[in-house]
Amino acid sequence: MAQVRSYVTLKGTKQGLQLLLDDESPFRTLLEQMEKQLNDQKGKLISAKDERLQVMVDAGRRYLNEHDRKELKELLETTFPLDVTEIRSDVVSRKEADALVRKKQMVRMARVIRSGQVLELEGDVILIGDINPGAVLKTTGSIYVLGSLKGVAHAGTDGDVRAVISASFMDPSQLRIAHVVRQPPENEEWRGMFECAYVNDEGSLELERAQKLGVLRPELAGEE
């Protein structure tokens, strides 16, 4: 008797239940067979407390587009008492890979960003020059200004609260990290040399000496 091909493997891990999916069959076949095989093991899909089980789906080396992901999630959640927390795949499209690279890149530029100019970038930015009053620099990563920051800097535009803003001369009209905004206090000097801004544990934007960055954001320290 030929061995029955396993389209879905259930695996209990420390993080919870995992569904490993076959990555060689056509997607349609996979969905059909997965449903069938899961039905056969229904007993394993019931939690002790009668709650829905949280599962992480691993699609292996199969590429899943947005639509595929939605379909897979819906099938699992409507047919079985499961909550899909994540769908993982080893494969990304070239477009997604490019986007990932852009977010991880270090953009270097030497120029003055002038009043009325709004720059929207991806990745970390090293600006050799100034952000003038009335100018705006936004990026998904962190901002390092070798010069004066007098305008608006917005780091972590995709919501990354670990992003930081650092400047040789900090005299901004407004700073933003992710969704946290801070303006200089009225009637108070809020300027200094070699400062950095970060979001603290309470979720508010704070300024510190740039030398503290390595402690506040160990991931930036650069040494193992």
């Binding site: 003055v112 002038r114 009043s115 009325g116 100019q117 020059g129 100034d130 003038n132 009053p133 009335g134 100018a135 004066s148 007098k150």
Partner: protein, 266 residues
């Protein structure tokens, strides 16, 4: 082949027209052939400052529309053989000419003159685009006020995108040294540090400038006033001479003059 220099500012009323008239006059005084071009269509006044208003027959729009030849529209200055004005139209709209037309016109003028100074209207719209179209160089005029410096910065940003225009140089106009000293107005160093461009000159706020504009005799004609000397120095720097920023451009005492000379701060 001459060079075309646009005089611009972003903000209105900071002294573009006055600067154009005076630098042009100072260049003519030094023996150069100069043509002043007023691109402030609808609000012309370069002709008034030059005292040439009554001689206008044709204007820039007439040339662009082919109603006359370029030579017919050029008005010779009262004082200098080598100084001419191409006036703007008073009754038309800014859209009456396109950048491409100004570019052609300026190219034609460059065959004939050493310098073409283009007086730009305030703002960053059509009029600005027209004025910049034919320029090789740019002078940005600002006063020592935050709003004026902010607009100068905006204009420098736009000029940096015009690949045919060299990095602009700065004129800080209407300086009142007592206010600068007391910290009531921005000082020149601060302005230059924000705008990050080379300083071409500084001009004091001088009643003589207003009086001479009203009488149609540009201040640069008189050898006495501080502003006049400042304009003459700017003209020399435009021509490549290195003239230090000196006392007479500012109202400084003898002591600070000496300090400046020694490289100390006043």
């Amino acid at each position: 082949m001459g060079e075309a220099i646009v005089v611009t500012s972003g903000k209105g009323g900071v002294g573009k027209t006055t600067t154009t008239a005076n630098i042009g006059t100072a260049l003519a005084l030094n023996g150069f052939s100069v043509c002043l071009v007023d691109t402030d269509i609808g609000l012309r006044n370069l002709d008034v400052v030059m005292g040439l208003e009554n001689r206008i027959i044709y204007d820039l729009v007439d040339v662009a529309e082919g109603n006359c030849r370029l030579q017919q529209a050029l008005i010779k200055d009262k004082r200098f053989e080598s100084l001419y004005l191409l006036p703007a139209a008073q009754t038309k709209d800014k859209d009456a000419v396109a950048p491409e037309q100004i570019k052609e016109l300026v190219a034609e003028l460059k065959e004939q003159f050493d310098y073409i100074l283009i007086d730009c209207p305030a703002g960053i719209e059509q009029g600005y685009k027209n004025a910049v179209a034919g320029a090789d160089k740019a002078i940005v005029v600002t006063t020592p006020e935050i709003s004026s410096v902010r607009d100068a910065d905006r204009i420098i940003g736009l000029l940096e995108k015009e690949t045919h225009v060299e990095t602009p140089r700065l004129v800080v106009n209407r300086i009142r040294s007592h206010m600068m000293k007391s910290g009531e107005s921005m000082d020149v160093d601060e302005i230059v540090s924000i705008l990050a461009v080379d300083l071409l000159g500084i001009v004091a706020d001088d009643d003589h400038v207003i009086k001479s504009s009203n009488s149609g005799e540009p201040a640069a004609l008189s050898p006495k006033s501080r502003a006049s000397i400042a304009y003459r120095n700017i003209a020399r720097r435009l021509n490549g001479e290195s003239v230090p920023l000196m006392s007479l451009e500012e109202d400084t005492s003898m002591l600070t003059r000496v300090k400046k000379f020694l490289g100390m701060r006043g």
